[in-house]
Symmetry: C2
Subunit: 108 residues, 2 copies
Amino acid sequence: MESRTAVTCCRPLLAGRLTIAESQAIAPVFRVLGEPARLQILSAIAAQPAQEVRACELVESLGLAQPTVSYHLKLMFEAGLLAKERRGTAIYYRLVQEQLAALRAVLG
Amino acid sequence: MESRTAVTCCRPLLAGRLTIAESQAIAPVFRVLGEPARLQILSAIAAQPAQEVRACELVESLGLAQPTVSYHLKLMFEAGLLAKERRGTAIYYRLVQEQLAALRAVLG
DNA sequence: TATCAATATTGATGATCGTCGATAAACTCA
DNA sequence: TGAGTTTATCGACGATCATCAATATTGATA
């Protein structure tokens, strides 16, 4: 389950001037990365052997309230950085590598 | 003239769990990228033949007030994304490619 | 020194953000 | 169906942010 289309649409930042529309499409994704708790969530997922994590595990390991974690997960999902899948009671989140690669491309 | 040491210090996001200190060091740099006007400034600099731009040129081309542009430039300078140099009356800003490369590395 | 041009800072504003408690919703299983 | 578990949403709060007008600062030049 994914949400936003990848930012792959956009030229690299350094290859010609961005239009207003382009900058408005890319900026929110970087802004989502601009929060320590969210970076920790991403790295926590990457550190899992299965490359995925249940939301409730993050609540324990981040030391944040459950609604706060849910809020961060929602933002990253909407930014196309995370995919989610329901299995039983739990919801598993995993990284969307394509979106991370797209961001690398924008920076290069 | 540069300010912040590169975020090159940090392991890639996907190579093991970030410490709180690491995430708090990296996040502000991404947050600075999370604003359309600032992305436009970066791309505007990259689009210049000389790879640099005078602050006053940006005021004209961005359609923002001069204090606003100065504010954005300051944030990017402090984030290590821009370097500046005074020549005569004007101050020229250019990209710090090392910092952009460091961010790519964090994402990969 | 005085004036001018370019940039930075200050102070104020409305808007957005991160956080949490309380509550709702979704799903499983007995 | 009903109880239990997991996740999402709501409402409110303090804090931070982007923006601008006004003003200060810096450096060049007459």
